[in-house]
Structure formats: structure tokens, C-alpha cells
Amino acid sequence: MRRSVLLRTFDVLNVVYLTGIALLLISPFLLVLGTSFSTEKSIMLHGYAMWPREFSLDAYRFVIRGGAIFRAYGVSIFVTFVGTLIAVLITSMAGYAISRRILRYRNAVALVFYFTMLFNGGIVPWYIMVNNMGLRNSIWVLILPICFSPFLMLLIRNFFQTLPEAVIESVKLDGAGEMRIFLQIILPMALPGFATITLFYMLSFWNDWWLALCFIDKEALFPLQYLLRKVLSSTLYAGMGGMQSKMNVGTAPTESAKTATSILTIGPIILVYPFIQKYFIKGITIGAVKG
């Protein structure tokens, strides 16, 4: 059936309008990207620009000097990968267990989890406890303290509760054990839920710098975010009258270094979004509606 001219015009306008909105949304990112490839001189003279007036890789050379950033990338990738794996496993198993009606006192157990979202011992006891566990200056200190989120556990529990109980019962009649049910039946059915908490955990591990600030002194264990935070902090400090700025021994590209830092930080994790965004939105909405 041929569509009317009016409808086709509407489609064209829609595409133009949405493309415009998309370009508007992406423009700050392009501005940061363009500036990161600009010389300090052109930034000072003309400000930030999407297209560099004078192309330069100085900012990237400055940020990655010494090669520490590659090691930090390695640490962050390991922490994100292993941390997310552990976190998703623990969280989903806990969520699955308390979503099952056969578990006695499941509401009381859920309340215990929920309680920790409202009240906690405070940062000082937490700091002392993690230190006393002997995790300081170990890669595991970047994973274990944040590898379980009660919020995400409750989110995925809500998701599990939307799955039909009859499926589980019928599989059970066929002789499947709890682990088999969880891994072979629940997991494929709950992909949107898993994708959601996976993304949340990935972002949380990837973006974390606080744990490194508190517990890591060894440079070899600095994750990317913490390392770049240090770089950013020192370039800012250099511009605030620090000793380095008292020394006129070569100028660091401070403005472009800030933007190059942003680009390097978001690089890998931004690639994850397109693959799981369809699950992500579904997971959030289902979890939210079925309380």
C-alpha cells in the first residue's frame, strides 16, 4: 500500500528533527573530542572547538607519558571484568533465592538487605574494617567492597518475581536441581534483568576511584579513573600557583589535557552501551513496575 504524501513528509520531518536532537546531544562530546586534539595556543586564543584549528596530539602524549596509563587500563579492565562477574553472580543468586516463595523468612532476609540501604556504620568503621581485613594494596580491595549492591539485588529479585512460577515447577518435576534451574532456565529468561545489573556493576567498577584513594598506595595497582584523577588534579594545581607553575621549565597542555583525560576515561565503557541498551531499558522498567 502506498503511503500518503503527508505521511512521508511527516516521516522526513521526524527524521530531520530527531537527527537534529541527536546532533545536539552529541555536540558536547564532539566539543570535548575536538578540544583534546587542539593546541593550547588555539584553545587560549579561540576557546573550545569541535574541529581543531591547530591539530595536536600533545595532550594525549602528556596524559600517557611514562606508560602508567596502560597499566592502569589493565587494572581497570581486570577489576571491571572480574568484579562484574563476581558481583552479578552473587547478586543474582541472592535475588533469585529471596524471590522464591519456597524460601521461608524471605521477606525478613530481604529486610536485612534493605536495612543496609538506609543505615550503615559510617565511613570510618568501614575504612577500618577493610584495612583490618588485610585487603590494603591488593587488587581485591578494588572489587570486594563494592561487589554486592542491595539495590541491584532487590531490582533483580523484582525481575525474577515476574517470571512464571509454573515454568520452575514443571522443570523441577522433570528432575532439575536448583542450580540447573537457575543457570539453564532462569538465566536465559531473565536476560534483560541481568543486562541491567551487569551494566550498573560495570559502570560502578569502571568509574570507581574512591577505593583506590582509600586503600591503594602502590602505583602498579592504580585503576584508570584514579590515575586520571591524579593527572587532572595536578594539571589544575599547576594552574593554581603550585610549585610546578613557579618553574618555567616547559608548559604542560592543561586545558587540552583535561579533555583528553575525559576521552580516555569514557573510551571503552561507551562501547558497551549499544550492545546492552535494549535489555537495559526493559530491565529497569519491568523491575520498577513489579514491586
Binding site: G66, I123, R229, K230, G242, V249, G250, A252
Partner: protein, 503 residues
């Protein structure tokens, strides 16, 4: 006694003397101590070689194994607070005005009076008494070791375009008259250039007020907090607490701000335009003069040379040569209550300032390896060094003494000139009442209200955006309504009691 026997006795005596001396030295050397220092910034890549050199040099005196933990600037205070609350062991930390007294009041840091008497002779000798005033607790205990940096160097100097001054055949800027002539010439002849970066007149005002009136001991900063003060002059006015904003000093400040605005020195829309300490404004050719911190002279000079090589910059100080009052010290080192050996911590701080050699080693690194000295005594870094990636460049803000600082060979001229000037400028001694600390806990509400009103009015009043007596009177009335009289009375009461106790 035969000649041979006499010689043998002499040898035995000498040997015994040497052994005794060795034993005494060995006994005097304290046990090795792991000294941990917390500071903000970036760890210098070649730090360990400096520590090794210091440890070797001081084995028989300090005998410390040094560790310095570097924390990003933005997180530093929070991290040290957390460590202190968790009773984590460290010895010395960089700290700041306000933060130091809070940590001391929480008993996270220790008083230093006795330790300084015993182990801090060099610190006491080399740091001016005016700096120690800011390192005292309310009850007069020394809670920190202050840094000593260039008086008045922080944002009260001006940087101007020398090439423009020469172009219009104007004399060097040394006072309000020469500054005015320069800014007028730019306003008249350079339509694309704003003569003065917004707010920068304050760098001139500070020195003009010092010339016109007696120094004031003030509490709070303009635009950043309530601002009241008292004047330790002779006569009826002695130590009378007053509202600074109602004083002739504030009125002069407003008059100068209005003058700057009316003579076209500022951008027309001051609040919408660039202002404050935008270092790029002069380098990019947007302004002809701005207030500046002399520690940033090299940065601003580099920026200008990079963007517009024809620009020439110079340092201008209003009323250059007049003695300057001692100003607030903001950077200190403190000794932690968790230190395993506070005496050793103070000994170490003292050691840094004990000699120029020690200071150079701690601040600039190993001579011949990290730097060399020019014939003028300037530090020369290896060619191609980048300021933020020197092999050894520790954060200096917990031990810095500008009297012992060296110029860097590549420093721009205005930086070297300013450094030399501040080393030799006469600093007026602080009156004894400067040690008085106003206890604000009963006035928190009033202070919050005052700060809101000050933030609303003062920037505009002092820069000529708001002019006329009606606006000024309205501002004063609102301050009074917000509780200024109560604060003045409370402070006067505390000051009188303090003076009676410290006669």
C-alpha cells in the same frame, strides 16, 4: 719512660679516644624510625633516590626512613581526615588554615610547643614570628609549623602589558596615578582590549589602603566571609572592634571601584564578562592588566609568549617599596597524634630548614642529578624538562620558606624580580592582639546571614557596578539587621577578656 714505650702509650690512648668517640656517636644515633608524611599532589618519579641520600646523610642524627604519600589535591583533606579518624599511623601532614585547628580540636594532631623548644630551633629562628601567630590554637598552643611565603604575593600584584605601556610612552606603574594613566590610555586607544580584568582593581586597593590608613587585624575576607576588624592604634580607638564595611577603608575601596568603572577600565557588563583570576585573558589579548599571584607569573608569561609572541608582560605593584603588613598564613605542617615518634617528626621539619643544603636537597633534589646551580645560584633543570613531569619536584606547601627558595634559571624576568623583591621587602610586625582568635560558635546564624548579604552586595559595590550612597547605606542597614551589632559586641567582649588575660 723510653721513647718506644711512650709512643705505644700514645697509640693506645689515641685508639681508646677514637673508640670512645665512636661509641658516643653510636649511642647518640637514635633507632631507625619510619617517618610517614602525607601531602597532596603527585609523587615525583625519582623520589626514592633523594630519600636515600637524606637517609645516608642523617643516619647518625635523624636516622629516619622516609615515606611520602601523595594524594590528589581534590581529595586530600578528606583522606587525611579519614585516616586520622581511623587512627591510622602517620607523622607529618600538609594542612591548611581552619583545617589545622579543626583537626587539633578533634585531638587528631598534637600541640608542638615543647617539641619546638627542644627540637625546633631552626624553625623558630627562620620562620618570622608573624607566621607563628596563625599557627596557634584559641588557648595559645602552637598547633602547626607554618610555611613562610612571599608577603602580599598572593593576588595583590598586577601584571600589565608592557608593550602597550611603551607604545603610549607611559612611565612604569608604581602608584594609583601611573596605573590610572596607563588604563586610561588603553581605554581611549584600544577599543578591542578591556583595560582591567573585572575585579582586579582590588589588587591596587589593598596597597592604597595600606598607604592611607593603619593596618587592620581582620576576620574573614572580602566577598568570602564576614569582614570585621579592630585597630590596635593608640588612643580611644585602640582595639575597638568595628564593622569594616562601615569604615572609611570600605568607603575608599568603593570610591576606587566606582572610579574604575566610570573611567571605562572594566568591561561594560562586568558580571557577565571575564573576571577574577582568568590567566588566559591577558595572554589572549583580551585585557591589558589583571591582578595576579606571583607564583603564577611564569605560567602567564608562557601563555602570552605562546599565543602572542609580540606581547611583553611586566609586574606592577602599587606603592612598591612601602612596608607590608604581615598577612594570614594558609599552609602548615602538623604532627599527627598517631605518630610513633613526634620528636623525630619535629626534628625532621627542623632539619629541612637547618641549612640551605638541606633545603635544596629536600626541595630541588640531588645536585648534579636532578638539577645544577648557575653562577648566580639559580636552579638549572635538565634541558627539555616539563614542569609537571620533573624527576624530582615535591609539593612544597608544608615546608616552604621563600627566604630559602631559589630562582629557577628559566624563570621569566618578572618572576625573578618579584621573588627578589619579596625576599627583601620590610614586613611590619604583627601586634600582639593578632594572636586573638574570635570564637564564632555563638554567632553562626548571624555569620551565615552576613555572608549572604555580603555576597549579594559587596562585589558590585567595590567594583563600581552599584554606585551611590543609597545603595551603600542599604547594604549597611541590611548588615545591621542581619546581626552585625551582636557580632561586634560579642567580639569586643572576647577581645577585652583576651587582652586582660594576656597583659
Amino acid at each position: 719512660m723510653t721513647k718506644g714505650k711512650g709512643f705505644s702509650v700514645l697509640v693506645v690512648l689515641l685508639t681508646l679516644t677514637m673508640l670512645a668517640a665512636f661509641a658516643a656517636t653510636a649511642a647518640a644515633a637514635p633507632a631507625l624510625y619510619n617517618l610517614r608524611i602525607m601531602t597532596a599532589g603527585d609523587k615525583p618519579p625519582d623520589q626514592q633516590s633523594v630519600f636515600d641520600a637524606i637517609e645516608a646523610k642523617t643516619r647518625n642524627t635523624l636516622n629516619v626512613k622516609i615515606t611520602v604519600d601523595y594524594i590528589p589535591w581534590g581529595d586530600y583533606i578528606e583522606k587525611v581526615r579519614l585516616m586520622s579518624a581511623a587512627k591510622e599511623k602517620f607523622d607529618i601532614c600538609l594542612t591548611f588554615s581552619g583545617v589545622a585547628s579543626e583537626a587539633f580540636n578533634r585531638q587528631e594532631m598534637i600541640p608542638l610547643d615543647d617539641l619546638l623548644k627542644q627540637y625546633g630551633q631552626n624553625l623558630s629562628k627562620k620562620i618570622l614570628p608573624s607566621n607563628w601567630v596563625w599557627a596557634k590554637s584559641a588557648d595559645g598552643k602552637t598547633i602547626a609549623v607554618p610555611c613562610q611565603y612571599a608577603k602580599d604575593g598572593i593576588y595583590t600584584t598586577l601584571v600589565v602589558r608592557k608593550d602597550l605601556r611603551v607604545k603610549y610612552k607611559l612611565p612604569e606603574i608604581t602608584n594609583m596615578d601611573t596605573l590610572g594613566r596607563y588604563l586610561d590610555a588603553v581605554a581611549k586607544n584600544e577599543p578591542k582590549i578591556t583595560p582591567l580584568l573585572g575585579g582586579s582593581i582590588q589588587a591596587a586597593v589593598v596597597h592604597e589602603l595600606e598607604r592611607l590608613y593603619d593596618p587592620v587585624i581582620d576576620y574573614g575576607y572580602q566577598g568570602q566571609g564576614y569582614f570585621i576588624g579592630f585597630w590596635e592604634t593608640k588612643g580611644a580607638d585602640a582595639c575597638k572592634v568595628k564593622n569594616w564595611y562601615a569604615d572609611k577603608r570600605a568607603q575608599t575601596c568603593n570610591k576606587m571601584g566606582a572610579d574604575a568603572m566610570n573611567r571605562g577600565w572594566y568591561a561594560k557588563d562586568l558580571n557577565a564578562g571575564i573576571q577574577g583570576y582568568d590567566q588566559t585573558a591577558i595572554a589572549s589579548g583580551l585585557v591589558a592588566c589583571l591582578q595576579m599571584d606571583y607564583y603564577n607569573f611564569n605560567t602567564i608569561y608562557n601563555n602570552a609568549k605562546q599565543t602572542n609572541p609580540s606581547f611583553e608582560l611586566e609586574w606592577a605593584l602599587i606603592n612598591k617599596g612601602q612596608p607590608v603588613p604581615a598577612e594570614t598564613c594558609n599552609n602548615f605542617s602538623q604532627v599527627s597524634a598517631t605518630s610513633g615518634d613526634p620528636a623525630r617528626a619535629v626534628m625532621f621539619l627542623d632539619w629541612i630548614q637547618a641549612s640551605q643544603d638541606n633545603y635544596d636537597l629536600w626541595y630541588y633534589g640531588i645536585k648534579g642529578k636532578h638539577y645544577t646551580l648557575s653562577s648566580k645560584g639559580d636552579v638549572v633543570y635538565p634541558a627539555g624538562s616539563i614542569s609537571t613531569a620533573l624527576p624530582y619536584a615535591p609539593t612544597p606547601w608544608y615546608f616552604r620558606n621563600y627566604m630559602m627558595d631559589r630562582a629557577i634559571s628559566t624563570d621569566c624576568d618578572m618572576s625573578k624580580t618579584a621573588q627578589e623583591y619579596w625576599k627583601n621587602v620590610k614586613v611590619l610586625p604583627l601586634p600582639s592582639t593578632a594572636a586573638f582568635v574570635f570564637q564564632t560558635k555563638d554567632f553562626e546564624l548571624e555569620i551565615t546571614q552576613l555572608n549572604t548579604i555580603i555576597a549579594q552586595y559587596w562585589n558590585d559595590l567595590s567594583n563600581g557596578v552599584l554606585q551611590g550612597d543609597a545603595n551603600y547605606q542599604k547594604f549597611l542597614k541590611e548588615l545591621d539587621n542581619a546581626g552585625m551589632p551582636a557580632i561586634l559586641a560579642g567580639m569586643q567582649k572576647q577581645l577585652d577578656a583576651w587582652r586582660a588575660a594576656h597583659k
